[in-house]
């Protein structure tokens, strides 16, 4: 509407007074673009989300709770929890140490190191499973050794854990590196000058500064561990009640045409995903901190 005025002003070479409209689209265009986005997101995100819950309750609440309380489902939930409880702390410790190393010191090959840490993001989950079969499987490099020690890794819980560690390896480091880079090293240096040791400095100076970023990384990492399918599928062996995590349990139910039961367990995981998104938005709101790297 005001575009016309602006062009006149510009052509006349007067001191330019720019109205807000010069950098905004007309309202009609705005609403067309908003509508396209809302339609696209509704089709791709909202409808599937609603469908999960509708399908889960298709056979009534009783069937829903029966599916969730089924011993195999409970075993799958327990196993998933065990995997999270081992994987998450290990990758959190690694994430903090790696981010500290990369942001607090100067050394050559830093970018190369970051690329290596990022590597598991881009490796196919199936390949992530395959490499551990090649390493620990019966015919794998360490297979005979493990067998003589009577340790089972593949088709057993350790395999699921180590594949999960690989898949979610970069998550926490990736969130912390940009954050710690922007914070610099001056606070740590001040603390050290005042006589605190390295660990004390980390505990009282660095950690409080990165706690929200750390939490952010942890919940994203957690969501991925719970939901990982491809890698776990390769190494688990699909033994019911033993090595089936929740996603694998869903797959089995679905392939057996027990659709309502599959969606019941899926709805449980979706609730978890929604909680993850809410906590994530809460952290972003609380700290103005936004993931710098899409994951």
């Amino acid at each position: 509407m005001m575009e016309h005025d602006n062009s006149v002003v510009a052509k006349a070479n007067h001191p330019v007074i720019i109205t807000r409209n010069a950098t905004k689209e007309p309202k009609s265009i705005q609403w067309i673009l908003i509508s396209i986005v809302l339609l696209f997101l509704t089709l791709f995100l909202v409808v599937p989300l609603i469908a999960i819950f509708v399908k889960a309750f298709e056979k009534g609440a009783e069937a829903y709770f029966a599916a969730i309380a089924h011993p195999d489902a409970v075993a799958a939930i327990k196993l998933t929890l065990i995997v999270v409880l081992i994987t998450l702390p290990l990758n959190a410790i690694f994430g903090v140490v790696a981010a500290w190393t990369i942001t607090k010191y100067d050394f050559k090959g830093k970018n190369f190191l970051i690329t290596l840490i990022d590597l598991p993001f881009s490796v196919s989950p199936v390949i992530a499973g395959l490499i551990f079969v090649l390493l620990f499987g019966l015919h794998g490099t360490l297979g005979p050794l493990l067998q003589s020690l009577d340790i089972k890794v593949i088709f057993s819980i350790p395999g699921i854990v180590i594949a999960s560690i690989f898949i979610t390896f970069p998550f926490i480091a990736r969130e912390l590196i940009p954050l710690m880079q922007s914070q610099g090293t001056s606070e740590e240096e001040a603390s050290l000058t005042l006589g605190a040791g390295g660990f004390k400095t980390f505990w009282y100076v660095t950690l409080p500064n990165i706690k929200w970023g750390l939490l952010y990384g942890i919940i994203l990492c957690n969501a991925r561990i719970i939901g990982e399918f491809g890698a776990v599928s390769v190494v688990s062996g699909h033994i019911r009640g033993m090595t089936n995590t929740m996603p694998l349990h869903i797959e089995i139910l679905y392939n057996e045409y027990q659709f309502s039961a599959a969606f019941a367990v899926a709805s449980l995981m979706s609730i978890f995903a929604i909680i993850t998104l809410i906590i994530k938005s809460f952290i972003e709101w609380k700290t103005d901190f936004k993931s710098t790297k899409a994951r």
């Binding site: 830093k110 598991p120 881009s122 196919s124 390295g198 939901g227 599928s233 694998l248 995903a273 938005s281």
Partner: protein, 279 residues
Amino acid sequence: MNIVTEGKQTKKRTIPGFGLTMGFTLLYLTIIVMIPLSMVFLNTFSMGFQDFWATITEPRVLASYKLSFLTALTASFVNAVFGVLIAWVLTRYEFPGKRIIDGLVDLPFALPTAVAGITLTTLYSPNGWIGQFFSFKVAFTPAGIIIALIFIGLPFVVRMVQPVLENIEKGMEEASASLGANRMQTFIKIIFPELIPAILTGFALSFARALGEYGSVVFIAGNMPFKTEISPLIIMTKLEQYDYEGATAVAAVMLIITFIILFTINILQWWTGKRYSGK
């Protein structure tokens, strides 16, 4: 992202613990990532070039590479276009429910891929909520694979472009408008060039993810050899038949493609770093 280390100035290491933390980082990285990944190449080398070549040029394997590549490319392209649009609407406009929409964009990262897989299959099957409106089959065809890959890769471009859009100086747009450019010209000549590195990085990340995606695709693909069989599924099938050599060979090719994509992303980020640190 300011990952590129600045200049050549050497700062003295005042903070203790470099050896310890660097040692731990490298040890963990070696045990969890480097040694396991190197298994693919060690096993490939031991199988001899002729066997390797014969495996990766099997017509069924070649068909899977082609399918994986084309579906991933199409899905990433759709995501790049809609990603820019979504990022634009979320950063520039106000509308009710914007915060919720913004949070929801990350759903594909939080939702397990198997859940996405069974849900999309149910929706797009011929009598499903959405599938019934199509005159052709969506689920169990390459179109279904593309739908699943669009879902999986949706957030990448949005999340790469959003921060760049937020940081574009309003002054440049004002200058462009004051010089007589209309809104479209300003977008194409001023804003879009600033977004290119972020779009390409998001596209590449989405592409790499789509190429290797398994969980969401196996349900919707139908998994017909030569038609809807993706490369990760070939690896899976070969593993189930205890054909470890075959699986490894196919995996080696996929890994090399992944490395090339990662290398490209790194160059893009170096480019971005150069562009933005100059200001």
